[in-house]
Amino acid sequence: MATNPRQSAVDPPSDDKRWRIVQAAMRRNGFRRDALIETLHAVQESFGYLDEESLRYVARSLRAPMSHVYGVSTFYHFFSLKPAGEHTCVVCTGTACYIKGAPGLLDAVGKEFHIGDGETTEDGKVSLLTARCLGSCGLAPAAVFDGQVAGKVNREAVVERLHAWQNGPAAVKASPESSPESEGSAVYA
């Protein structure tokens, strides 16, 4: 537990105001390395995902090895290293939802939109995610549409909702930024 109370010397990657939230989270924890997960939560909340630039910044600020930061970021299911689509649909795959038809929901989305768990449609509009259990077992099967929990959903309802998102009036947002590698480093010499 090395405490570096005065260490805020590392400048954020840009003057984007959202970095202040991240800095505040680190300062609140005295820039200690054990606040890494809290800090990553702050980054993800502010930017939607963790990109290489932010991981590098967090590593330097907390004086943590970069591989450690990357290791922690990829260990936890909650952190995403890829930007999500404009809208997200989270299907609960807890036991109650499973036996009440969650696999059918995923199957329906997969067939209709060609995306699986953690993937985003090519137009960047819709991301599909799964949750281990939302704790809404009384409402199984449950799904979350842009933060709103919906209970007792069926295949048709999910597909309809996602279609509405895709065809909605929202402006097309370019989001296919460089996504971090997911499979070691594939470099052949």
Partner: protein, 559 residues
């Protein structure tokens, strides 16, 4: 401090007495997702519109239990509970306040679901506003803490907990008093108390319900634990997936701080205690003590071999007490009413009550609390109302991915740590999932193995690779491509992974397979020999070719 609490209680009671009616709206996550917030708002407006605001208060409360009928509204003065309430129903409810309750919306409360429960942990759930510390105090909250700090020594607090016979509610069932004693005896000035609120079992939502409905109870339990073991810092490790629970907890901590119940001087004594929240980030393995500690330290949530146990070598190498939410929530009433009182409930070896989350093929899904020793039969068919449509309950799954499936024929067994274990399952944290004939047991086993496989941290070999191999074998069986040799191999792997894995996740990962093999072997055989899924769940490959179990030679094992 005692006077201050009494004063708050008096003010609260006076305030409440001014109202003829109190309308409680369940604003826990279950009801919220079916529109409780809108209902609450509409009720408030309706009360105002009817000019009743001086006689009627609309209050958000914690979980009322019967999640299946949400959003739930309760009118205390009329002892009426309403279910499936919509915004359109609100004029009728308010209109009926001074006349008669609205019968068409009523949920019968004279049913076993309400009558057979014994609520200790949930005593305030659905009764108080979880966002106001005053209501918790008015309900007797923090009085046990003040008594303990002013009249009891830490050893006496531990004695009460030991006398209560409370066992760890996270699933392991380790005697809580013993755990506290070990931490109290551990040398050193720096000790920690951790509340494990990383409820990761799919199908379990008891802890979430407690945190959302009555967060102060957990805080009071933690402070008492800190006093008893000599710790001055506590952490609540809570799932990031539970935003409402986190919000309520944060609010409760700052209220307790302002009230002087947390901080350098707790309740005007020399004892100091603080609580901070640490967010989990989606890793089931972090329910394991040593992995949870690694996660709080900002590392990958990987467990380490025990001993040394966290009680001696825990967070930052210091003695650390880890209990789960429900265990801590039991502490305030134990201190308030005495350990002996608690020990009078339950069975010989499992004392007190247990909270269960009922889900699956059951009429009354929701949260219940029953004395230990209640039979599964009573829980499923009476309290739970049985399978919807009067179908047969095929099995009850307890303990999540670490537990097992108990078939219908054994439901007359009591629910306690030891009998569940003898049935091949475990108490677990309290998730209870009822399955009817539409569930295939091979498929259920495969579901849980898939869970363990993706949640395996990858540190130890048996769990990391063994779960994948077992999953593949289960997949082979469920698609009708397996042989009896595959089944034998699966059983061998179960034994190896159970006995050689590093932590609880791996050691219990084979349980769902072992228990379904014990009671539903015929279903496995039907998949293998007859290429058929009796429940009609599994998709058997149309052209199933008999394949020999593969055997590869280790390429040139050189000397």
């Amino acid at each position: 401090m005692r006077e201050k609490l009494a004063e708050i209680k008096a003010i609260e009671e006076d305030a409440k007495a001014q109202y003829t009616h109190t309308v409680n709206v369940c604003t826990a996550a279950g009801c919220l997702s079916s529109g409780a917030a809108q209902v609450k708002e509409a009720l408030g407006k309706e009360v105002e519109r009817s000019g009743l605001e001086r006689w009627c208060q609309v209050k958000g409360v914690g979980c009322l239990g019967l999640c299946t009928a949400g959003p739930l509204v309760e009118v205390e003065s009329q002892s009426a509970m309403y279910g499936h309430v919509t915004v359109e129903d609100t004029p009728a409810i308010v209109g009926g306040l001074n006349t008669k309750p609205v019968e068409r919306l009523r949920v019968p409360t004279g049913t076993p679901f309400f009558l057979r429960q014994n609520r200790i942990v949930l005593e305030n759930s659905g009764r108080i506003d979880p966002e106001r510390i005053e209501e918790y105090i008015a309900a007797g909250g923090y009085s046990g803490l003040v008594t303990a700090l002013t009249e009891m020594t830490p050893a006496q607090v531990i004695d009460e907990v030991t006398a209560s016979g409370l066992r760890g509610r996270g699933g392991g069932g380790y005697p809580t008093g013993l755990k506290w004693t070990t931490v109290a005896k551990a040398p050193g000035p720096d000790k920690y108390v951790i509340c494990n609120a990383d409820e990761g079992d799919p199908g379990a939502f008891m802890d979430r319900s407690v945190l959302e409905s009555d967060p102060h109870r957990v805080i009071e339990g933690m402070i008492l634990a800190g006093y008893a073991v000599g710790a001055s810092q506590g952490y609540v490790y809570v799932r990031a997936e539970y935003p409402l629970a986190i919000e309520h907890l944060k609010k409760a901590i700052s209220q307790a701080r302002r009230m002087g119940l947390l901080g350098r001087s707790v309740a005007e004594t020399t004892f100091g205690f603080n609580i901070d929240i640490r967010l989990g980030a989606g890793a089931f393995v972090c329910g394991e003590e040593t992995a949870l500690i690694a996660s709080i330290e900002g590392k990958r949530g990987q467990p380490r071999p025990r001993p040394p146990y966290p009680a001696e070598y825990g967070l930052w190498g210091k003695p650390t007490l880890i209990n789960n939410v429900e265990s801590f929530a039991n502490i305030p009433p134990i201190i308030r009413n005495g350990g002996e009182w608690y020990a009078s409930l339950g069975t010989e070896k499992s004392k007190g009550t247990k909270v269960f989350a009922l889900a699956g093929a059951i009429t009354n899904t929701g949260i219940i609390e029953v004395p230990m020793g209640t039979s599964l039969q009573e829980i499923v068919y009476e309290i739970g109302g049985g399978v919807p449509g009067g179908g047969r309950c095929k099995a009850v799954q307890t303990g999540g991915p670490s537990g097992g499936c108990i078939p219908d024929a054994y439901l007359d067994n009591p629910v306690d740590y030891d009998s569940l274990r003898s049935l091949g399952s475990i108490m677990g944290s309290g998730g209870m999932i009822v399955m009817d004939d539409s569930s295939c047991m091979v498929d259920v086993a495969k579901y849980f193995m898939e869970f363990c496989m993706t949640e395996s941290c990858g540190k130890c070999v048996p769990c990391r690779v063994g779960t994948v191999q077992m999953y593949r074998l289960l997949d082979k069986i469920s698609t009708g491509r397996a042989t009896l040799e595959d089944l034998a191999l699966l059983e061998n792997l179960c034994d190896m992974v159970q006995n050689t894995s590093l932590c609880g996740l791996g050691q219990t990962a084979p349980n769902p397979v072992v228990s379904t093999l014990r009671y539903f072997r015929d279903e496995y055989i039907a998949h293998i020999e007859e290429k058929r899924c009796p429940a009609g769940v599994c998709k058997i490959h149309s052209s199933v070719a008999q394949t020999d179990s593969p055997s590869y030679a280790v390429a040139e094992v050189a000397q």
